[in-house]
């Protein structure tokens, strides 16, 4: 790797001489920048990718500090607020007076005697101002520090459900945030498992070639030839029902990765076929470096940026896979929550038509996947900064 870096530095020095007349020539820092600095410069120009990265950063922060962002415990049932719509934020009270900070009204349940439906009306007698860093239910931040501070909320006896509640009266906002812990991490873990298998198998296949290559390529073709979603469903249905949430989580990850590694293995193989004749690999071989060492230390790092791109683009597929499986009821199982589990409530079209807020978790899925696609697109443009 050190040799490779030296080579790069030399190349950039040569370029200073070769491309006079370009404005960049006067900017010394361009030629002194490392490869990753160049990647970052190019990435910054892709505004959508930057936006995607910011949104994803917020999502992951919310997942990590879920208790801080939530207003109610996510498993707590409030039967008197079952299927209540999101509470509106008001600036003006009944008399038209302006208030700051804004406030919410608590909703009162009434039963429509004709349709036997629950209906909610706002109780405009008492205003509950929304406050920042309010004291709420106690929890342990990161599992370490005991506290009861939450980002926003109202003071007891008021309650605040920003996204409404489900049929048991559980806070959909809190559930969505807690669900993101599983939904957002399963993509990463799955991609990492797929990455390890894919880069090793692809590396071996491309590096050795011949019979090994042929066998591995046939194996990949074999896996690809089985339709993905039916295979996922079959494998997910095979997870024993007595497994704990943690076991199911890793089981689903492995199921998703079983199919996911093949694409990466193909990318790696193609790249290795391109690079294996390069001089620095020949030099390593002559120096008697072991084959495994050459693949892992010399070949894979030489196209690390491409690997990162295909990893980023692999994550949304995993997130969607988990959502689909949990939605069908064979993925993550309640009481554990993921976005797919929450969407199970939205399966019945009649209940969604009556309570459209049950569909809010879907917005999070789409936004997360969209952002990963933006970031992946930006990284793909930036992957080869020398172009």
């Amino acid at each position: 790797m050190s040799m490779f870096a030296a080579e790069e530095q030399e190349m950039s020095q040569v370029r200073t001489v070769q491309v006079p007349g370009q404005e960049d020539v006067y900017d010394e820092s361009y030629y002194l920048a490392s490869q990753w600095q160049l990647v970052w410069r190019k990435f910054r120009k892709h505004k959508l990718a930057l936006l995607g990265m910011v949104v994803l950063a917020i999502f992951y922060l919310m997942a990590i500090f879920a208790d801080f962002f939530a207003t109610n415990p996510y498993q707590q049932r409030y039967p008197e607020f079952a299927l209540s719509p999101p509470q509106k934020i008001h600036f003006f009270d009944e008399g038209g007076r302006f208030h700051f900070p804004p406030f919410v009204y608590v909703q009162k349940q009434t039963l429509d005697m004709k349709t036997l439906r629950r209906e909610y009306t706002e109780d405009t007698q008492v205003r509950y101002p929304l406050r920042l860093l309010v004291h709420g239910y106690p929890y342990k931040l990161l599992g370490l520090f005991e506290t009861d501070i939450h980002l926003v909320g109202v003071e007891a006896p008021g309650v605040y459900f920003p996204f409404g509640t489900d049929e048991f009266g559980r806070d959909i906002y809190a559930r969505t945030i807690f669900a993101s812990r599983i939904s957002l991490s399963i993509g990463f873990v799955g991609v990492i498992v797929g990455f390890v298998i894919g880069s090793l198998v692809g590396g071996v296949s491309g590096y050795f070639g011949g019979t090994v290559d042929l066998l591995i390529q046939r194996l990949i073709e074999f896996i690809i030839s089985i339709p993905t979603i039916p295979l996922w469903i079959a494998l997910a249905a095979a997870l024993p029902p007595y497994w704990t949430s943690v076991q199911v989580y890793f089981g689903i990850t492995v199921v998703l990765a079983t199919v996911g590694w093949t694409g990466l293995a193909r990318t790696v193989r193609g790249k290795i076929l391109e690079t294996r004749e390069a001089d620095f690999i020949m030099a390593a071989r002559i120096s008697n470096v072991p084959d495994f060492h050459i693949i892992v230390k010399h070949l894979l790092p030489s196209f690390a940026s491409y690997l990162i791109v295909s990893l980023t683009l692999g994550i949304p597929g995993m997130i969607l896979g988990e959502t689909a499986l949990s939605f069908l009821g064979i993925g993550i199982r309640p009481p554990a929550v993921s976005w797919g589990v929450l969407l199970q409530d939205a399966q019945n079209i009649r209940s969604v038509a009556q309570s459209p807020w049950l569909f809010i978790p879907a917005v999070f899925v789409v936004v997360a996947v969209l952002c990963f696609n933006f970031v992946g697109d930006g990284l793909r443009d930036a992957a080869d900064p020398y172009k």
Binding site: Q217, E221, F222, I224, S225, I226, P227, T228, I229, P230, L231, I233, A234, L235, A237, A238, L239, P240, P241, P316, L320, T323, A324, F327, L328, I330, L343, A346, Q347, I349, R350, V352, A353, P356, F359, A362, V365, V366, V369, L370, N373, F374
Partner: protein, 332 residues
């Protein structure tokens, strides 16, 4: 060509044989079997105790007392006889169950493929020739969103909108009066009325991807010297576009068929469950849950066959469309 096709065919048969073994093992991974669920249900419903003799008799009747490899051979034999084994859950030979459903799956997938190309090709050409125009931006944004909304969610959204604003339930492929009716002109017309929703839902994601591919390749192509030369010589813009650059840019679309068609078959599984379509997907799902082994194995086998046919057709089409790809390359 004939030699190449024959070689491919033999390889495909071998591949399918391997698929049958692997799927047969995978679907029997869950603990218990069809009978264990069936017996516990019997005990709950009837309240009487199922005796050991009855269990043994049922086991023998269903062939569940045999070890796995013998059951596999039994099923493989029935595949060659053409009845594909017996479904425990439906108490019918599998052949009677899956024929119509697979035909519908195939119809939906073929139609979706066509619609995908019908949407993608004109829009792709438009956004490449009108780069950075309003239409191009709309196509790009739609492309990203189309890639990010899973098809089952799109199906849910459409169902919701139709129900909310028009008060109609769009699920299913047939109106109630036609569901069990024999095939007639009326039933076909009814099917055609119900097809647009699932076909559109399935086409969206694929079309979004294809537009991006077509736009990128066509943009590359339009900058090339030969296009500039032709324009300088006064070739009309329409001919300039369609004679060569579009033809070149269509190549990646043809090779995309290799993953598009399987993706549609696979995507159909979950969309069909949401939309309540009488295709193979929902039946596969139910058979997996009830551990109806022979039915599951047969559906998976047929889905794989459809997938493999899609890939092969795309390989052959590519050779026809692009004369630069010679047989040797196709074989690797």
């Amino acid at each position: 060509m004939a030699h190449y096709m024959l070689q491919r065919f033999i390889y495909l048969v071998f591949l399918l044989w391997l698929v049958t073994i692997v799927t047969f093992v995978v679907i029997q991974l869950p603990p218990g079997d069809y009978l264990s669920t069936y017996i516990s249900r019997l005990e709950q419903q009837a309240g009487d105790v199922v005796t050991e003799e009855m269990i043994q008799a049922l086991k023998a009747q269903y062939g569940l007392d045999l070890p796995m490899h013998q059951r596999y051979l039994k099923w493989l034999g029935s595949v060659f006889r053409g009845d594909f084994g017996f479904s425990y859950d439906w108490k019918k030979p599998v052949r009677e169950l899956i024929g119509e459903r697979l035909a519908l799956t195939f119809t939906v997938a073929i139609l979706s493929t066509l619609v995908t190309y019908l949407i993608a090709v004109p829009i792709g050409i438009y956004s490449a020739t009108h780069q950075y125009s309003l239409g191009d931006y709309i196509a790009t944004v739609w492309g990203f969103i189309g890639l990010s909304i899973p098809s089952f969610m799109l199906a849910l959204i459409l169902l919701f909108l139709a129900f909310k604003f028009f008060g109609v339930n769009l699920s299913g492929l047939f109106s109630p009066e036609y569901i069990d009716a024999p095939w007639s002109t009326g039933k076909v017309v009814d099917l055609l009325k119900h097809l647009p929703i699932p076909v559109l839902v399935l086409s969206m994601g694929g079309a979004a991807g294809l537009i991006r591919v077509l736009r990128a390749t066509l943009l590359d192509e339009l900058q090339k010297q030969y296009v500039v030369t032709a324009r300088a010589k006064g070739v009309s813009e329409a001919k300039l576009l369609f004679k060569y650059p579009v033809r070149v840019a269509l190549n990646p679309l043809v090779s995309n068929l290799a993953w598009l068609f399987p993706a549609l078959i696979s995507g159909d599984t979950i969309v069909a469950i949401v939309l309540g379509l009488p295709t193979a997907g929902p039946m596969l799902f139910r058979s997996l849950i009830t551990q109806d082994t022979f039915l599951t194995a047969s559906i998976l086998l047929f889905m794989t066959i459809l997938t493999v046919i899609g890939t092969t057709v795309s390989d052959i089409l590519l050779v026809i469309v692009d004369p630069r790809i010679r047989m040797e390359k196709g074989r690797e």
